[in-house]
Amino acid sequence: MPRTTLCLAMLTAAMSGCASRPVGAPPGTEVPLPWGAVDPATAEPAGGSSDDTVLTLAGSGSLIAYGAGVLCGWTEAGTRPEFRTVAASSTSGLIATYAFLGPEYDTQLHELVTGINTLDVYRQLGLVSSMTTGAINGSGPLRDLVERIVDENLLDEVATQHARGRRLFIGTMNVDNGTEVIWDMGAIASSRRPDRLERYRDVVVAASSLPIIMPPVYIPVEMEVLSNEEVSADQPADGTEDPAPAPEPRMEEYWQMHVDGATLEPVLLSRFMLRRSAGGRLYVLLSVDFDRRVAYPTPVRASVREISWAVISANAKAGLIRDVSRAYVLANLDDIEFRVAAIPSGFEDVPRLQIFDPDSMQELFQGGFDHAAAGAQWRSIPPGVSVEEILDEMRRDRAATMSEPVE
């Protein structure tokens, strides 16, 4: 029936109109870092004095309200330092800029984490869109939110602080090659490129895009490739072969798929961020509820949905504990004092990770604020680690050192 055919054609057209990924680099291609990203191996360390403080923000979803509360409560207590370096992963990237810019932005920070609901962050995608974007939800609202909070003026403020030697880093994961990418947000803000605002926003959205839950963000990277044009068919008649003309380099643009960097490294911290800060202090602010053994209904039903959540949640928690321990090690290696805070044991009414509810986020914010204002939030031992075990290890280490022969 012609009308039926027309309807099917329209439906197919609508479906095919859904986005698929833009062109990625061919397999095996060594793609350079996109502009704004830093190579941890060669990156210049920030800081250079024993007064340096480094803050790394971790935690995602609605729980970032706790981190925001701690920052504002810290201001209230009058002891909040000016951080030489701020690093963030996951949704904490949303609040990282305000944390970096300091107490003058506490009001915006508070409004940000207590003024949004879930539909301001993501919305369910239709099945066809879900299949073509690789995510359960669309992040259109999140992008709108980021566009509202990140504007040219904010970038200018970040650039000003960058010029003072301060650094702001946000981490994402390049899904195409499975590596972490650390973005120097101050360098992006300081750039004269016309796409600095777009790049800054892209990174913040990508950092908040938990894979599968939210669609990835595609970030362009330009690279020089050699022309692979065939040698001319006009071969000399005598059969001699002229040397093939050297391939001409040309610029190609490829797109990298980026998602939440916490997938690889829940606590963003690279050694170059600490290298010159000996005698300083590292603060690890975890908007994380370690109390919650599981973040899904138990016993788990035999459903794809619930098993997926169970595995993802367990993996995320294990990764977090591993990373905090790693941060502890890095701090000790560079003779930096280690401090960590997380949502305290027994804190009630912690909202669910991906549910942004203004009321419960306000409670969580207030909890963080109160703890920080009372100066009670920081510990010197990572969560998941027994003090006794560390002391035993130290004793064994000391005993081994004393038993070694003196040269």
């Binding site: 029936m1 009308r3 609508a14 479906m15 109109g17 609901n117 879930t118 539909l119 919305r123 369910q124 995608l125 239709g126 099945l127 066809v128 869109s129 879900s130 359960i136 939800n137 669309g138 259109g140 609202p141 839950i213 370690f290 109390d291 053994r293 599981v294 973040a295 899904y296 209904p297 138990t298 016993p299 039903r301 459903s303 794809v304 949905r305 993802i312 949640s313 294990a318 591993r322 321990s325 502890y328 090690v329 000790n332 044991s345 027994g346 669910r352 990770l353 991906q354 549910i355 031992i381 990572p382 969560p383 998941g384 680690v385 027994s386 075990e389 560390i390 290890e393 280490d397 050192t401």
Partner: protein, 442 residues
């Protein structure tokens, strides 16, 4: 450099304050059920958030279509309340279905609903039989195919129904037994079963516009009010239909609604004026058009609630095969929340004889939500005056009252009484029609 306790790397066993609750949780034992739920939004949470978002945006969110609309019924199902007896055996079955439906929704984006409504009515006067009963099984749903829900979504929707009698006459025939102009429960008949609706709904402009195209029911969209459903509220035609507007049966058509701002909307629809309930095909487009245009005003008075004010004009082409002339109708429909008390009023007039059985009608009444603190209950009283199209017949009045009792999250029981005063072609001054309605919805 300080001694480095390498032991810390990879430690997964937590003790001390951070880990305390882990042990407590572990002690819950087999079968312990945590109150925490999954990380992604459930359908109920999503609908709740949409409600909250609508409230936050102002009055636009209170835009209501008919309660019988497929999306309205799905929403009502996900937002259901405990009811008088709470989670009884039926509701546990319902919970299983709900969990299945939630998984289905997550994996396929199919959102399905089932409902069965049965109505028994008895008239105090008229020819025998004076009792009537029928049942209506509804299966409906949407499939979210593309785009972001509420912003750019494209949905497929459908509604299938099976209506049946119980051996006697159906409530839709009861009015003929005592000569009433107004049908005492029009949807409860046995003559319309099958696929009633199938459509595509597309949200555009960040949700400020939506278009529905396909086999649709125009009366779901125009000149409605919040009480206009014989499945949930009043049964009589005077309140459950916009009677003087010559709506065709569900058929091929398109409707579009746009919200230029939070206080106003404009809706337009075109459909097949000759559509005959449940028998639409592409070939049923005979060229006769029904068209409607509605301007709606949405208000939200501080401390009172939402108000919805609608002006609707419609036109229908002549439908010769049914001896229907071309003509126009004009309708005003208002409902205004005053806390839990919700008065409403409707007026509809036509400019041509023969369009509908009613030439002019005015109805007014109120609903009272949750009068005895049982969430889901609704009490309503309304009165109407109807002028027959046939000038040989006398004007008719009707007063109706119902009390919808929410027994469980899935079961409603509604006693209803109608006073038909001066039935247009009847001999009695007053006929009382009592009714009992049960509805189960999953």
């Amino acid at each position: 450099m300080r001694p480095l306790p390498l032991l810390v790397i990879g430690l997964g066993v937590a003790t001390g304050a951070y880990g305390q609750a882990e042990e407590e949780d572990a002690d819950q034992g087999e079968g312990a059920v945590s109150e925490s739920t999954g990380q992604e939004l459930t359908a109920q949470q999503e609908y709740e958030l949409q409600e909250a978002e609508a409230a936050k945006k102002g009055s636009a969110g209170f835009f209501q279509r008919s309660a019988d609309n497929v999306t309205s019924q799905l929403k009502a199902d996900w937002l259901r309340v405990d009811g008088l007896f709470g989670q009884d055996a039926i509701s546990k079955l319902g919970q299983e279905f709900r969990a299945f439906n939630e998984d289905l929704r997550f994996t396929t984006r199919l959102d399905l609903g089932l409902a069965y409504t049965v109505l028994w009515q008895h008239a105090s006067a008229g020819e025998s039989p004076r009792s009537a009963a029928s049942g209506d099984f509804d299966f409906f749903g949407t499939w979210h195919a593309i785009g972001e829900l509420g912003r750019t979504a494209g949905l497929v929707g459908f509604a299938v129904e099976y209506r049946h009698d119980f051996g006697g006459i159906t409530p839709s025939e009861l009015n003929t037994q005592f000569g009433s102009l107004l049908n005492t429960a029009r949807p409860f008949n046995d003559n319309s079963s099958g696929l009633k609706q199938i459509w595509w709904q597309q949200h555009l402009a960040d949700g400020q516009v939506y278009v529905r195209i396909g086999a649709i029911d125009q009366s779901d969209f125009f000149s409605t009010n919040r009480f206009q459903s014989a499945n949930f509220f009043f049964l009589n035609d005077a309140f459950s239909q916009s009677l003087a507007v010559p709506f065709p049966d569900a058929g091929l058509g398109v409707v579009a609604f746009g919200f230029p701002n939070e206080s106003i909307y404009i809706g337009a629809g075109i459909g097949d004026a000759s559509a005959s309930g449940g028998s639409f095909t592409a070939d049923s487009l005979s060229g006769e058009i029904f068209a409607a245009l509605e301007v709606g005003f949405l208000t939200a008075f501080e401390g009172l609630g939402a108000g919805h004010y609608r002006l609707t004009v419609s036109h229908t082409d002549a439908v010769p095969q049914r001896n229907k002339p071309a003509g126009e109708a004009f309708a005003i429909s208002i409902d205004q929340e005053l806390g839990s008390f919700v008065p409403f009023m409707q007026l509809a007039i036509t400019n041509k004889s023969g369009l509908t059985s009613v030439r002019n009608i005015v109805s007014a009444g109120f609903g009272f939500e949750n009068p005895f603190d049982n969430a889901g209950d609704e009490f309503g009283v309304a009165a109407a005056w109807a002028q027959p199209d046939d000038k040989q017949l006398s004007d008719e009045w009707v007063i109706e009252s119902f009390y919808r009792l929410q027994l469980t999250p899935t079961l409603q029981f509604t006693p209803d009484v109608q006073f038909i005063i001066n039935p247009s072609s009847g001999t009695k001054d007053v006929v009382v029609v009592g009714g009992l309605r049960f509805r189960i919805q999953y």
